[in-house]
Structures are given as structure tokens and as C-alpha cells.
């Protein structure tokens, strides 16, 4: 008999402590991440940070010994926090555009609030059947989900695994600190060091989180790496050598090196990225078609499960249908509030398309996050706003407000799916996780919008503000101005979508999404991730699957968790020190 005292009473899962603490952690993270996003233009991986903080408080300080309760606490916290990125990346555009257009400045905040809440709910609804399809049928990796599960399981996983997790954490932390402060370069541009041009990059990032994600993805991540190679080692040299980009003389560049850098930037932002977004969309569309039988089976099994199981493991199919209807209604109301002149059928059409796009984009980001740990939220939000812009007949305020819903919803899909993956690995009940998400995730919306208004009425933000330039919001504002003047890369989106659709015929799930994602991202991220994939394949071939499960998984989890925590700590430290 074990001499440790056995637990008594019901096993703790969704408890008041887990929920209250989760909401508090989530609200604090939301406030901090909105500020960070306005300052730096990015946020942190919410799920991982929420898990670390919750684990430290619940397990470390409060001595609560239930791994599943920890998972629920983290699910609530990351759900609440999810509103931070969705709002801080989109809504500031409206404030910024309102500086020169008083009509835009007087947008209806209730519409923004409703749209954001609708997005939050719809994101959760979308993942109900997707959970079954992606986690149980497709078995996507969700590297951050595995990392969080490794952390939560560490008290029972034995000393060796705990040491490996700590070792991975330490290595990532030790290397990330000097890179963060610029004491060592955060990228290793081998190509430039060897005299290669900027448009043929051979650059690795100092990011053990990327390597960790690649280690966990293994062979499954290869199409992503090959997509990046195709973009930067084939298409980019072709574009330069076949003069698809104006030469040095035509642009008046003072030196070849400067022209090379400019050409690489132009290639990325104007050629590869828009086509990549198109391929992502096409890949997702073909994925929807190919997955239809599995999705149907997932919905069917939800209905079946409700009828047969004593203790329901899944939320019912009715919840799914009610959730979709409710979210549509709230989005419809948001459209009416945002544009009072819009006719009711027009508002209904806008809400239907918004819901459909959110579902598709949610599938894209969930699939991308499941395969690579990277979610193309900003790209999908951008397309969402563009669709809304055309659908509302050029109504800037309405398109941004409905874009907020899309942005929050798709973020919810990626983040929550990762939590559900962790839950699967430790045995949490999906129904309880989803109930927790439904009950609390929307609370982040008023917190994020409140913080945004608070900062706007205090120090302010936007391109003219030296301290809080709101880079993502400013970029979206520039896109809206571009859309208003008819300058949208529609051709590249459309052709990319056709390519992604055609790739869907190949019998490898998610190939279009992976190749599109690789073209959409800077290559150093893809290549660093690729190093992880290749190491993983070599190790598995040489040392077997048991070694991978017992050694590589905890080390990789340590890499991801270490970088996330150190990044958050250093960012808050820098902001606190006025950096």
C-alpha cells in the first residue's frame, strides 16, 4: 500500500476555486496582453501561460491535488484571455481611423461588444464537432496542448520526466534571455554570412519553442517545411532571375545589398503572403469537403452519445445547434447596431456570411495550430474584414466591428482546441471543458474592451503615439484605407485558393493548409521548425517510439513552456522598466 494518503470525496474537476481563479488569471492576462499588443503588436501563447500560472497557484500554493482541476482552471483562464488578441488586433483600427473621420470615431461600442461576444461563443461552438474530428479521428498533434499536458502530468510522471521537462525549460530560458535583450542575435542568418542574397534566406531563429513544436510534429510537419522551401528557395529566385520584380536600376536603389533586402520584403508582402493566404483558404475549403463524412460522423456521435452514455462525455448536438443559432442572432444584432441604415435581409446575410467565414477560418487556424502550433489568426482576420467590407458595401466601421467577431472566434478555436488536446491526454471530460468555456470565456470581452477604452482615454494609442503605436491596429487601418481605394490583392487570393483546392485531392490531410501557412510566414520560423521535424524523424528512426514518448516529448514540452514563460516575464519586466 502506498504510504501517501488517498484522495477522498468526488474527484475535483470544474470547482469554484478552479473557475474563480481561472477568471481572475484570465482577466489579468487579458488586461496585460491588450497592453502588450498595443505596445509590441503581438501577444503570448495564452494556453501555455495560463497553465503555468494556474499550476503554480493551484498545485504549488493552494496544494490542490487534482491534475484535471488544473486543466479546467487553465481552460477557463485561456478562454477568458482569448479576447485580448482578438480585440487588440482589430478594434484599435477603428479608433485610429476615427482620428481623421469623426463619423468613424462615433462607432457604437455596444455593437463591438455584441460582435465580440458572438465571436467568442461561435468559436466555442465550432470546435464542438471539430474536437472529435481533429483530436480523435485526425489525431493532430497540437504541440502546445502536449506541452501543457506534460506540465500538468509532471507530479505523477516520475522524477526522470520532471527532470527532462525542467532541462528543456532551462535550455530554452537560458538561450532566450540573451536573445531577447539583443546580447546575442535572435536569428542566425547563415545565408547572409555566406554572402547569399536576402531573397534566398537560410536563416534559423533562436527559438526553442519552434524547435520543440517541430520535435512534437515530426514527419507530419514536413509539408510545412517543404512549402517554405518552395516559396523561398524556388519561387523567390525565379521571381528575381526572371525579372518579376523591378531591377535595381528601375527602383533607383543605391546598392545591390539594399535592393536585395527591399526585393525580399516586396516578394514576401506582395507576392508570397497573399498567395499563401489564398492557398490556406483553398486548403481549408478542400479539407471541409474531404472531412465532411468525418464531421458528419462527429455530429452523429454527439447525438448518439447523448442518448446512450450514463455520464455524458460530450455536449449534446442540441447545444451545437442552439449555439450556432444564438451566435447568429447576436451577430445579426451587432450588424444592426453597427449600421442602423442596413436593411434587415442585408444584416441577416452579413451575419450568415460572418458565421460561415468564422467557421471556415476557425477550421484553418485549428488545423494549422494542430499541425504546427502556429495559428494564422491575423491573416484570417484580415480576409474576414475584407469580406465584410465588400458585403457591407464599403462600411468601414461595420466591417471592422464584425471583423472583431471573426478574430476572436478563430482565436478561440485554436486556443480551445489546444486545451481540449491537453484535456484528452490527461482524461478531462470534454463536456465539462466546453461548459466551462461557454460559461466564462465571454467575460474576457468586456475586460479587453474596457482596457482599450481606458488606454484610449488615458495615454492613447496609434501611429502618432511613441509609446503605444498599436502596430496591428495601424496595419488593419492601412488595409481598410487600401480597400477603400480599391487596392486589394484579389487576384492572388483567388489563384491561391484554386491551388489550395486542387491540393486537397492529394491523400494527405491538411497539405494545402500547411503549404499555404509556410508561404504566409517568414521563412526563418518555418526553417527553425523544420530543424525540429528532421531531428525528430532521425531520433525516432534510430531510437524508437518509446524513446520519443519518454524523452523527447518532455524535453520539447520544456522548450515550449520555457520560452513562453521567459518571454512573458521579460516583456512585463521591460514594460515595467519603461522599455
Amino acid at each position: 500500500m502506498s504510504d501517501i494518503q488517498e484522495g477522498e470525496g468526488p474527484y475535483r474537476e470544474l470547482t469554484i476555486a478552479a473557475a474563480v481563479l481561472g477568471v481572475l488569471i484570465g482577466a489579468l492576462m487579458t488586461a496585460a496582453f491588450v497592453y502588450i499588443a498595443l505596445k509590441l503588436g503581438f501577444t503570448m501563447p495564452g494556453s501555455t501561460v495560463a497553465a503555468i500560472i494556474g499550476f503554480a497557484i493551484l498545485r504549488g500554493i493552494m496544494r490542490r491535488e487534482s491534475i484535471v482541476e488544473n486543466n479546467l482552471n487553465q481552460t477557463v483562464a485561456s478562454g477568458v484571455n482569448n479576447a485580448s488578441a482578438g480585440i487588440a488586433f482589430t478594434l484599435p483600427a477603428l479608433f485610429i481611423l476615427g482620428i481623421n473621420d469623426p463619423e468613424l470615431a462615433n462607432f457604437n461600442p455596444v455593437a463591438a461588444l455584441l460582435a465580440a461576444i458572438a465571436g467568442s461563443f461561435l468559436g466555442i461552438v465550432v470546435i464542438i464537432p471539430l474536437r472529435k474530428q481533429m483530436i480523435e479521428f485526425d489525431r493532430l498533434k497540437f504541440p502546445s496542448g502536449i506541452a501543457v499536458a506534460s506540465l500538468l502530468r509532471s507530479p505523477g510522471a516520475g522524477e526522470r520526466q520532471a527532470k527532462l521537462l525542467a532541462g528543456g525549460f532551462g535550455v530554452a530560458a537560458v538561450l532566450h534571455v540573451p536573445a531577447y535583450f539583443g546580447w546575442i542575435p535572435d536569428q542566425l542568418p547563415f545565408g547572409t554570412w555566406l554572402g547569399g542574397p536576402a531573397w534566398f534566406p537560410v536563416t534559423l531563429g533562436i527559438s526553442f519553442a519552434s524547435i520543440g513544436a517541430g520535435l512534437l510534429a515530426g514527419r507530419g510537419g514536413l509539408p510545412f517545411v517543404f512549402g517554405g522551401m518552395l516559396a523561398w528557395w524556388v519561387l523567390s529566385p525565379l521571381a528575381i532571375n526572371l525579372a518579376w520584380v523591378p531591377d535595381m536600376q528601375a527602383t533607383g536603389a543605391p546598392s545591390m545589398a539594399e535592393w536585395n533586402t527591399w526585393a525580399a520584403g516586396w516578394l514576401y508582402s506582395e507576392m508570397l503572403r497573399p498567395v499563401g493566404i489564398g492557398i490556406l483558404i483553398g486548403g481549408a475549403l478542400s479539407g471541409v469537403i474531404a472531412s465532411m463524412p468525418a464531421l458528419k460522423a462527429a455530429v452523429h456521435s454527439l447525438a448518439q452519445a447523448t442518448q446512450t452514455e450514463g455520464v455524458a462525455q460530450e455536449v449534446s448536438a442540441h447545444t451545437l445547434y442552439l449555439g450556432v443559432a444564438g451566435s447568429f442572432l447576436v451577430l445579426f444584432l451587432a450588424a444592426i447596431f453597427a449600421a442602423p441604415d442596413m436593411s434587415l435581409p442585408h444584416a441577416a446575410l452579413t451575419a450568415v456570411v460572418g458565421c460561415l467565414w468564422l467557421a471556415l477560418a476557425g477550421l484553418v487556424v485549428a488545423q494549422a495550430a494542430g499541425m504546427t502550433d502556429i495559428s494564422p489568426i491575423s491573416g484570417m482576420s484580415l480576409i474576414g474584414v475584407t469580406i465584410m467590407f465588400f458585403l457591407t458595401g464599403g462600411e468601414v466601421a461595420t466591417s471592422i466591428i464584425l471583423g472583431v467577431a471573426v478574430s476572436i472566434g478563430i482565436g478561440q478555436c485554436a486556443d480551445m482546441m489546444s486545451d481540449l488536446k491537453s484535456g484528452h491526454l490527461i482524461g478531462a471530460t470534454p463536456r465539462i471543458q466546453q461548459i466551462a468555456q461557454f460559461s466564462f470565456a465571454w467575460l474576457g470581452v468586456p475586460v479587453a474592451i474596457g482596457v482599450l477604452y481606458l488606454i484610449w482615454n488615458g495615454p492613447g494609442f496609434g501611429p502618432g503615439n511613441h509609446d503605444l503605436s498599436a502596430p496591428q491596429g495601424a496595419a488593419l487601418a492601412a488595409v481598410m484605407e487600401g480597400l477603400s481605394s480599391g487596392d486589394a490583392p484579389v487576384d492572388k487570393y483567388v489563384t491561391g485558393t484554386a491551388i489550395g483546392l486542387a491540393m486537397g485531392i492529394f491523400p494527405l490531410s491538411g497539405m494545402g493548409v500547411l503549404v499555404g501557412l509556410a508561404m504566409y510566414l517568414p521563412f526563418y520560423i518555418t526553417l527553425t521548425y523544420g530543424v525540429g521535424c528532421f531531428i525528430s524523424i532521425a531520433l525516432e528512426r534510430r531510437l524508437g517510439t518509446t524513446f520519443m514518448a519518454e524523452t523527447v516529448v518532455p524535453v520539447a514540452a520544456g522548450f515550449i513552456i520555457g520560452e513562453a514563460l521567459v518571454n512573458l516575464t521579460l516583456t512585463l519586466f521591460s514594460l515595467g522598466a519603461g522599455g
Partner: protein, 214 residues
């Protein structure tokens, strides 16, 4: 072999089609030149230089549509070759006797789960020991079985695959929960989880038997 050739053809197709997609129409080239000049010489350029999206699209269609279509044709050809290769592999696997014997492995999992339940009902058992055994079974039996899931999909088709994998995943989750409960020294929950795991396993076995009978 045929799948590899298909993948190569698809890769060539993606290259060709993406080359067409990223290429500028004449007006885009013009815009790029202007952007370059702005970047290097800070030249003032009027907004009228922007060409409407519709016009750009038609210019692009005229110059690169054939290239895109050729690329798409290659992508589709490569993908179809790979699909044919998969279909052939399916035929071979239907007649072959090798591969993972799913019903035997499911039975093996049932025996393990029954044994752990029996052990947990004994007063003197070490919970940590049972937890480690569950972990061992998970790594040595359950994970390899799930890793071979594509065999099942090829052999039985997608509908049967989902009908087996759904409850099997439920078994896996409940089995994981038993491990977690034991790590937290919560015997009652571990027992309940193993009982739930057995219910899910029965469903998976039934689905497998039904699919094989069809």
C-alpha cells in the same frame, strides 16, 4: 513508388501554379517600381498610380492564366496518382494477413483494464505501481495501435474507421483519466474511469465486428 511520383508531379504543379499566382500583371510591376523608387529616393507618387483590382485581374488573366491552368492540371494529376496508389495498397492489404490485428489488441486491452480494476479492488495495492503499469500499457499497446489507425481506414473505409476510433478514443481518454486519478492518489475515480474505459472498449469492439461483417 507511384505515390512518390504523384507527390513529385504535384510539387511541380504547385511550383508552376504558384509562379503564375505570384507574378505581377504589368500594372503590379509598375506599382512595385514606384514602391522601390519611394523607398530609395523618397519620390512623391500620386495615388492615381494604383490600378483598380478588376483591371489588374483581367491583365493578369491575359498573361498568366494558361500557366496557372497547367500547374493546376499537374497538381490534380499528381494527387490522382497518389489516390490510385492508395487504392491499390488498400486492395493489397485486404488480401494480406499481416498488419496489426485490431480485434486481438482490443481484447488484450480489455484484459489489462480488467486486471487493473481487480488490483485496485485489493486493499494493499500500491497505487503508484498500478499507475506505472497503466502508463506502460498505454505506451506499449494503446499508442502503437492508434499509430496504425490508417491501416484500419484503408481496410474498412472512413465510415467504419470513425465508428471504431470514436469509442476507442473514449477508451483512451478514460484510461488516461485513470492514470491521472492514480497520480493524484484518488482510487475511487481511477476505478470509475477504468469502468468507463471498459464500456467504451466494448463499443469499439462491437463497431469493429459490425464493420468487418459488412
Amino acid at each position: 513508388m507511384m505515390k512518390t511520383v504523384g507527390a513529385i508531379v504535384l510539387g511541380l504543379g504547385v511550383m508552376l501554379a504558384a509562379s503564375a499566382a505570384v507574378q505581377f500583371g504589368e500594372s503590379d510591376y509598375q506599382l512595385a517600381t514606384i514602391a522601390g523608387q519611394q523607398a530609395f529616393t523618397e519620390a512623391e507618387v500620386s495615388q492615381s498610380a494604383a490600378v483598380p483590382a478588376g483591371q489588374r485581374l483581367s491583365e493578369w488573366r491575359a498573361s498568366h492564366l494558361v500557366m496557372l491552368l497547367a500547374g493546376l492540371a499537374l497538381i490534380v494529376s499528381g494527387a490522382v496518382m497518389a489516390r490510385l496508389s492508395d487504392a491499390r495498397q488498400r486492395e493489397i492489404s485486404l488480401t494480406a494477413t499481416g498488419g496489426n490485428d485490431w480485434s486481438a489488441t482490443l481484447e488484450q486491452l480489455r484484459q489489462y483494464a480488467d486486471r487493473f480494476l481487480g488490483e485496485l479492488e485489493q486493499a494493499g495495492v500500491s497505487l503508484d505501481e498500478v499507475r506505472d503499469q497503466i502508463n506502460h500499457v498505454r505506451q506499449s499497446v494503446l499508442e502503437p495501435l492508434i499509430a496504425s489507425r490508417h491501416e484500419l481506414e484503408i481496410r474498412l473505409g472512413l465510415a467504419a474507421y470513425t465508428s471504431v476510433l470514436g469509442p476507442l478514443s473514449g477508451f483512451e481518454r478514460a484510461f488516461n483519466r485513470a492514470w491521472t486519478a492514480l497520480a493524484d492518489h484518488h482510487r475511487t475515480e481511477a476505478v470509475a474511469s477504468l469502468e468507463l474505459a471498459l464500456v467504451q472498449l466494448t463499443e469499439a469492439e462491437k463497431a469493429l465486428k459490425d464493420s468487418a461483417a459488412k
